[in-house]
């Protein structure tokens, strides 16, 4: 299909195998999309105009997505933006944002998508309550969190190998440990480290997770105060966005390895206050082929490497390429090492691998120690 930005879509409805539901990570990300849609001949919209217009746009497809597998399969889908304004991701706007996610889901169902990945805050808002989504007889939903966990764990293991760290002797701090992604990471890594420190807001959930891990033979500490643990950890996974990066980075061990797996990602290493290595986790790269129509590559997925996307979105794509239209991740803290291994294998079979390492400053060198 050749659907130019200003042009008209052809009359025949193109095939839609999957849909990816997302939202702008920031106002600058939204501005980039608007600028691309306006085209080079028009001046970009001023920031204040984007802030005025975006909240009025109903959830809709931003572009069509075509993916090729290294195993010769192909899939076609839509990237649907719920247009949740980036400054309204807080708790006060939950109902308003849920309405947007439901409308995005309805859009995907109407388009005929067989599987829908709920990216970013979309799945966090739902808290696994898929029954809050509109019913679609031929459409299933997945949070995509299992593949996110897979890429986080792969990232930690690969970085440790690259940096010559002994994972077995490490103290792992997981922030947001009781969430769907955080608990999945804990289950996958608890048996591979010496000690785990679990931080979350809900003490009761922390206790339950600690009990679950008792059989792993790992030393477990739980707490709600990040400052209580952070300076003892040499590995950290931040599975929840922190109000301020300094909460973690100012207290972490000087040479710690930190995986920023929150959404949006906001841990930027400050050379003056921290020598920690920070990398963005949970991201994968499609190697078989990825095209957007209109061509928003590098705009929707603004990363220093091509064809990189969040694991949550890639899970729906991998399942589509595999022909497995099922709610693989349901977002209720049920991610197990077995499921992680399974989705890893599915993704790898179609050429979807861990993304190269980078953080807010750009690509990270492959060997740092």
């Amino acid at each position: 299909m050749d659907c130019t930005v200003a042009g008209i879509a052809p009359s025949a409805a193109p095939q839609v195998d999957f849909a990816l539901v997302g939202h702008p990570e920031s106002w600058s990300a939204a501005a980039d999309v608007f600028s691309a849609l306006r085209g080079p001949e028009q001046t970009p919209l001023p920031d204040d105009e984007i802030r005025d217009i975006l909240p009025w746009i109903p959830p809709r497809a931003v572009c069509r997505v075509a993916v090729k597998s290294i195993a010769a399969a192909e899939a076609h889908g839509l990237y649907i933006d719920s247009f949740i304004p980036p400054d309204r991701l807080d708790a006060g706007c939950v109902q308003e944002n849920l309405t947007r996610v439901r409308a995005a889901a309805a859009y995907a169902i109407k388009a005929g998508a067989r599987i829908v990945s709920l990216g970013g805050f979309s799945s966090i808002l739902l808290e696994g309550k898929f029954d809050q989504l509109p019913p679609g007889r031929a459409t299933v939903f997945t949070t995509g969190n299992t593949l996110t966990v897979a890429f986080i764990v792969q990232g930690i293991e690969k970085m440790c190998a690259l940096q010559g760290r002994n994972l077995w002797q490490s103290t792992l701090l997981v922030v947001g440990a009781t969430g769907d992604v955080g608990s999945g990471c804990v289950r996958c890594l608890a048996g591979k480290v010496r000690r785990v420190q679990l931080v979350a807001r809900n003490v009761e959930r922390l206790r339950r997770l600690a009990v679950e891990l008792e059989g792993e033979g790992v030393e477990i500490e739980i707490g709600t105060d990040l400052a209580q643990f952070s300076e003892q950890a040499d590995l950290a996974i931040c599975a929840a966005s922190l109000p301020s990066p300094s909460l973690l980075l100012d207290n972490i061990a000087a040479d710690a390895l930190v995986c920023d797996a929150g959404y949006p990602k906001n841990l930027s290493p400050d050379a003056e206050t921290s020598r920690a290595t920070v990398f963005f986790g949970g991201l994968g790269q499609i190697t078989g082929g990825l095209t957007f129509d209109p061509d928003l590559r590098g705009i929707l997925n603004h990363h220093p490497f091509p064809d990189v996307a969040h694991g949550c979105l890639l899970e729906g794509i991998a399942l589509t390429l595999e022909g497995r239209f099922e709610s693989f991740s349901r977002g209720r803290g049920a991610i197990t090492p077995k499921l992680v291994e399974e989705i890893e294998m599915i993704a790898a079979r179609h050429g979807i691998y861990l993304a190269p390492f980078f953080n807010g400053d750009g690509p990270l060198p492959l060997t740092m120690k």
Partner: protein
């Protein structure tokens, strides 16, 4: 329209913002008169007497809306002066008349029912929320009336699109570039091309915040109504999003 009959005279002190409402009403009356003239012109190219009769009927209804808005103005002690030759309204009218000249009934319906009515319906609904007393009721009642018109036209337009989506979308895009560009300029936060020739003195937009409105709010609501209408017709969302993104601000 029953609400129009329930208007009670209010004292001047109830409407300290009268100059603002005067300009808001002037835009509304002008829009209704343009709509009435558009339907009259449409009636002239309808071969089917029944369709022509419906167009005349719509014209009369739009004219009654203009009368009701003018009466609402008098009720708060302001004279509502319309100007169908005002800068933007004249261009909108000319776009419609080009469709008439081509005897393009579908084009006429697209301009009037999808574009102008989206703007009217969304704006009136927003004004109805904040306008005091009977003035709010008038805007609310007319917004409901306009919704009925739009529903009727949508059935015709949907059938037309279903028959040949590519041709329909091509026509809609051409008219979008012409009409929505003008409407976007009207709804821009500032009138960059000079006075609109409808507001009584200076531009009303900077004062709208005094009555809990803003040009940005009216533009946002109007664009949302428009894009939802295009969705209902079945146009692809990624295409209409690009159209909206390309409008002037």
């Amino acid at each position: 329209m029953d609400a129009l009959m329930e208007m009670q005279p209010l004292t001047e002190s109830d409407f300290s913002d009268s100059p603002i409402w005067q300009d808001v009403l002037a835009q509304a009356v002008t829009g209704e008169l343009v709509a009435a003239m558009n339907y009259e012109a449409l009636a002239g190219i309808c071969d089917d007497p029944e369709e022509a009769g419906q167009a005349w009927e719509h014209s009369a209804i739009e004219r009654s809306h203009a009368v009701a808005f003018a009466a609402a103005g008098r009720n708060i002690g302001v004279d509502v002066v319309s100007n169908v030759d005002g800068r933007h309204w004249k261009r909108l009218r000319e776009a419609f008349l080009r469709c008439v000249a081509e005897r393009d009934i579908i084009g006429c319906l697209i301009v009037q029912e999808i574009m102008l009515e989206s703007f009217a319906l969304a704006s009136y609904a927003r004004v109805a929320i904040v306008a005091p007393g009977s003035l709010g009721k008038v805007f609310g009642a007319i917004a409901a009336d306009e919704q009925e018109h739009a529903d009727h036209a949508m059935a015709i337009l949907k059938a037309e699109r279903d028959a040949d989506p590519e041709r329909f979308d091509d026509k809609l895009h051409r008219l979008h570039l012409e009409v929505m560009t003008t409407l976007a300029a009207m709804l821009a936060k500032e009138c960059k091309d000079g006075h609109c020739e409808v507001c009584q003195s200076s531009c009303v937009k900077p004062s709208l915040f005094e009555v809990n409105l803003s040009a940005a709010l009216l533009r946002g609501a109007s664009l949302q109504q428009y894009i939802k209408t295009l969705d209902a017709l079945g146009l692809p969302g990624e295409v209409t999003l690009a159209w909206i993104a390309q409008l002037p601000v």
